[in-house]
């Protein structure tokens, strides 16, 4: 399964004069030769490297977002505190939300998607490898662009301060004159391009690159959930793009979309934002659902219970997610009928989610459960997410929500689903796939203790927020008075937040310690299949060789790998057919052609933040950024495949690069750059 990318064969100079052709192909657009250090990462198009980079960036941003959170918690630990001024506090909670959602949670999901989808479907890479690299660099550029708002033009002068949902008209120039909202709008626009491009890429990958025999209903649940996520992104991203365009046009070009004086309706923003925003929360949670759907069967030694129901409930969540957005607007005055309709539609989301929860429990039921660190995390997700889901159901009753909305009760809800559902799930995933990805185990001892610190800290942080909310503590307030009865639980929450920080630090410490231990030969190498797992990614060496699989895998069953290891005897008992080592590929096939690295995704991606700065500060920079983008795209189209033998496959022979370029990014990029 070779992916070939360009149409131009390298220029060979064999014409009249009869000069001997040069050793290296001549011409402007040679491709980088892989294999030396950082360049290997900068110019890589390998989905695994890109996945790792997504993960690293996501974790980094998680820590940054968490530091924001710690500052907020410090400020709120006592009534009337003044650690952060009102101005700074507003910027901090905005950046906390934005960084956590857009720069931590989404990319961590993308990390799993990039790394695992091709492996789980037995493919060698994604459909458009260079596009994949492009999407990562665009995301990183957009993220750094957003964060740079903190420094540029003065310390904390130009940070966004409108909340992560940035309600108009508070985000108009009139009310938010600093450049913060510009950074917000343009930064999210850029990361949005990354998500959209990535979604197109992964959808095509899943649809078109499955190993022979792997029908949709044999795909691992994780791949399924990630596929649904990409579909949600595909349709949600253009909506937020439009919203952000309108906001940007209002702010930079004097458009009227949210100009109430001209009769504009501020609720337009809310509709657009939440039509994106609600599917977005499922974008965040479904990868985690997928992760634990891999972990739980593995450590229960049972197949997932009710596979088709797990799949369809995921699809149902994806679909229903589109019909509930106005539950964030119950108090906005959209009218009783709309409120009632959205209230009811929201309630029924509990059904498919409940199916999932109960299926996980049923999978564990009667199993032989090994409580390793990943399994602990997965179990915690089942327990903790349910709490968040249940408070979600209490919001879905619009009448009740009119008391709860915009209080800490909501903050409690979404941190339970987000932290309890997503972050815990992802940590479980890290422990689970770490040996596969990096070739060494993370210490179980540190893992388990950090797990308990994290879960306890998490409950201490967000549990009390239920009480605070019901007692009337409003969201997004920089301070409260001591007579309001909020003192105790805020203090508890602050203590809890620091416990989470300690647990996170323990995880990072674990990575370092375990790596050292492994290097020193104190811990064993994991082998291809350390956990006796079920899906195809375990069927190759750890760490995964660059070409993924030595040969094409022909799939017959769901959980193919497991079935190759285990069979049933006449009594119906499970007996070993083969060991993992016998079944798995050892990664020794060096004769696989891989897509070559490329400079151009990085070059094109760098242009976007430059255009962003240009829009905010100086249009000249837009020209520069545009040159980067265009130059990157030209290089992209015209760069050669470095291996002339490579174009003997049908979906190769150069059309990839052409259509990839022309269909996906030019449109996006030009939408971005041609804003007049």
């Amino acid at each position: 399964m070779t992916i070939v990318e360009s149409e131009e064969t390298p220029l060979e100079l064999e014409s009249a004069g009869g000069q001997p052709p040069a050793e290296k192909p001549l011409g402007a657009f040679t491709r980088p030769q892989g294999g030396n250090g950082w360049k290997d990462w900068l110019f890589t198009v390998d989905h695994k490297k890109i996945g790792i980079m997504y993960g690293a960036a996501g974790l980094l941003f998680f820590v940054i977002g968490g530091i924001y959170a710690l500052f907020m918690r410090l400020q709120l630990s006592r009534p009337g505190n003044s650690i952060l001024s009102a101005e700074t506090y507003n910027q901090v909670f905005t950046m906390h939300g934005v960084v956590m959602v857009f720069l931590a949670a989404i990319p961590l999901g993308a990390a799993f998607a990039n790394y695992l989808i091709p492996l789980q479907i037995g493919a060698r890479d994604v459909a458009f490898p260079r596009l994949n690299a492009f999407s990562f660099w665009v995301f990183l550029g957009g993220g750094l662009f957003l964060l740079s708002s903190m420094f540029i033009g003065g310390w904390w002068e130009n940070s966004p301060d409108g909340g992560w949902f940035a309600y108009s008209p508070n985000t108009g120039v009139l009310f938010s004159p600093s450049k913060g909202i510009d950074f917000f709008a343009i930064g999210l626009q850029i990361t949005g391009i990354a998500s959209l491009v990535g979604a197109i890429n992964l959808i095509v990958t899943v649809l078109n690159m499955r190993a022979p025999g792997m029908t949709l209903m044999k795909m691992p649940i994780l791949t399924w959930m990630l596929f649904i996520v990409q579909m949600l992104l595909l349709f949600a991203m253009p909506v937020i793009s439009v919203a952000l365009f309108l906001l940007t046009f209002d702010r930079l070009f004097g458009a009227n979309f949210f100009n109430v004086a001209e009769g504009a309706d501020p609720l337009l923003w809310q509709h657009l934002f939440w039509i994106f925003g609600h599917p977005e929360v499922y974008v965040l949670i479904l990868p985690s659902f997928g992760v634990i759907s891999e972990i739980i069967p593995t450590f229960s030694r049972k197949p997932i219970f009710g596979y088709p129901f797990m799949v369809f409930s995921g699809i149902a969540i994806g679909f229903m997610g589109w019909g509930v957005w106005a539950h964030h607007m119950f108090a906005s005055g959209v009218g009783p009928v709309a409120v009632a309709a959205f209230s009811v539609s929201t309630m029924f989301i509990a059904v498919p989610t409940g199916v999932k929860i109960l299926n996980w429990l049923a999978t564990m039921w009667g199993g032989r459960i090994r409580f390793t660190t990943p399994m602990l995390y997965a179990t915690a997700v089942v327990a903790m997410f349910t709490i968040g889901g249940l408070s979600g159901v209490t919001h879905s009753l619009a009448a009740a929500d009119s008391q709860q909305t915009d209080t800490y009760y909501i903050v409690a809800h979404f941190h339970y689903v987000i932290f309890g559902g997503i972050i815990l799930g992802f940590f479980g995933g890290f422990y689970f796939w770490w040996p596969k990805i990096f070739g060494y185990f993370l210490s179980e001892k540190i893992g388990k203790s950090s797990f308990w610190v994290m879960v306890i800290g998490f409950n201490l942080t967000f549990g009390p927020m239920h009480i605070l909310g019901l007692q009337g503590m409003s969201r997004r307030i920089q301070t409260y008075s001591s007579g309001q009865g909020f003192d105790l639980w805020n203090l508890v929450a602050t203590i809890g937040a620091f416990m989470i920080a300690i647990a996170t630090a323990m995880f990072i410490g674990n990575v370092i310690v375990s790596r050292k231990a492994f290097k020193a030969g104190k811990t064993p190498a994991p082998g291809p299949d350390p956990w006796d797992a079920r899906s195809l990614e375990w069927m190759t060496a750890s760490p995964v060789p660059e070409h993924n699989f030595d040969e094409t895998i022909h799939v017959e069953k769901q959980d193919e790998f497991w079935h190759r290891k285990w069979g049933k005897n006449e009594e119906g008992q499970v007996v070993r057919r083969a060991t993992a080592e016998e079944v798995a590929h050892d990664g020794s096939n060096t004769n696989v052609h891989l897509p070559s690295p490329s400079y151009w995704p990085l070059v094109a991606a760098i242009g976007l933040p430059i255009i962003g700065y240009g829009l905010i500060y100086n249009l000249l920079l837009c020209v520069l950024g545009g040159l980067f983008v265009l130059g990157g795209l030209y290089g992209w189209v015209f760069e050669p495949v470095d291996d002339p033998n490579a174009d003997n496959h049908d979906h190769g022979d150069g059309q990839d690069s052409y259509a990839e370029l022309e269909t996906a990014e030019v449109t996006n990029a030009s939408e971005d750059t041609t804003i007049e």
Partner: protein
């Protein structure tokens, strides 16, 4: 590593930057002078930060010089990036012998374009900035083109290969740009014509142009075989006709288009004024914030 070409253009870039800096400072507003009695601090900052903050004196000249520097630097970088096409690099490959310069195989029209550019530039200096810019662009493009051919001509010992090398590098850039320019010209000409004629004529003109396009395409397609020259002739005629009527229309000017409501225009203007104030001067927002502190 660093070829003479690289050094040359880097030199240009450095010269451009320094020139830009001095130009900006010297043309700066002497009124706000605080250094040496005639230089405004703002301008120092502006010039040094490429206009990021602070201000510069004469903008046009400054921008041109900065652009000159950027372009030179870009060329210099390309020179190293494309060192395969660089004679030194090739000489390394060919055990130290420098391939002799070869005469180009194709007809070279760039000097003419460059000359036209120079003329335009001078005309622009006395007439209109836009014309000046066009001239500048022409000259820069020419310089770039000539340079590319200069390397290409010495890239290998084989003139045909050299020509191909040049085309390989330049065609992907030239051709689309020319194509885009062509489209832009067509769009602009068409819209000028629509604007010049009356409202109902605009409709007819649109109908006629598109009918002509479609029908002639149809005719060519139906014919079994068409003489190349006929096609070229028709295309050329069409293009010239469009261009000519476009220019003519632009000269004639737009038909009278009055504001729909007298009182409205007032309103809209004042509204735009408000917005203009809010946006025109983004700096002022932060200024305000600073004075807040």
């Amino acid at each position: 590593m660093f070829s003479p070409g690289f050094r040359l253009f880097m030199g240009f870039a450095g010269f451009g930057l320094i020139a830009a800096f001095f130009y900006a400072v010297v043309t700066g507003d002497g009124g706000g002078a605080d250094y040496l009695g005639f230089i405004d601090a703002e301008v120092w900052v502006g010039a040094a930060s490429l206009g990021w903050s602070g201000g510069v004196g004469d903008h046009v000249g400054y921008v041109i010089l900065v652009m000159f520097a950027i372009v030179s630097a870009g060329l210099a970088i390309m020179l190293t990036a494309f060192r395969d096409a660089d004679s030194d690099a090739v000489s390394e490959l060919n055990d130290g012998t420098l391939p002799p310069a070869q005469s180009p195989v194709s007809y070279n029209y760039w000097p003419i374009i460059g000359a036209v550019g120079l003329g335009t530039l001078v005309t622009g200096l006395v007439t209109h900035a836009a014309i000046f810019v066009v001239g500048l662009i022409l000259i820069l493009t020419t310089a770039f083109e000539l340079m590319m051919s200069a390397w290409a001509d010495r890239a290998t010992g084989d003139p045909i290969a050299n020509a191909e090398l040049r085309n390989r590098i330049m065609k992907p850039v030239e051709v689309p740009i020319l194509g885009v320019i062509g489209i832009a010209v067509a769009v602009i000409c068409a819209s000028r014509i629509f604007l010049a004629v009356s409202k109902s004529w605009a409709i007819w003109v649109a109908v006629i142009i598109s009918a002509v396009v479609f029908l002639s395409a149809l005719a060519f397609a139906l014919a079994e075989k068409v003489n190349r020259n006929v096609v070229a002739g028709v295309l050329a005629t069409g293009a010239i006709a469009l261009l000519a009527s476009g220019v003519a229309s632009a000269v004639v000017g737009e038909r009278d288009m009055s504001h729909h409501h007298g009182e409205h225009s007032e309103h809209s203007e004042s509204h735009e004024g408000e917005n203009g104030e809010e946006h025109s001067d983004q700096g002022s927002h932060s200024d305000m914030k600073e004075s807040d502190k």
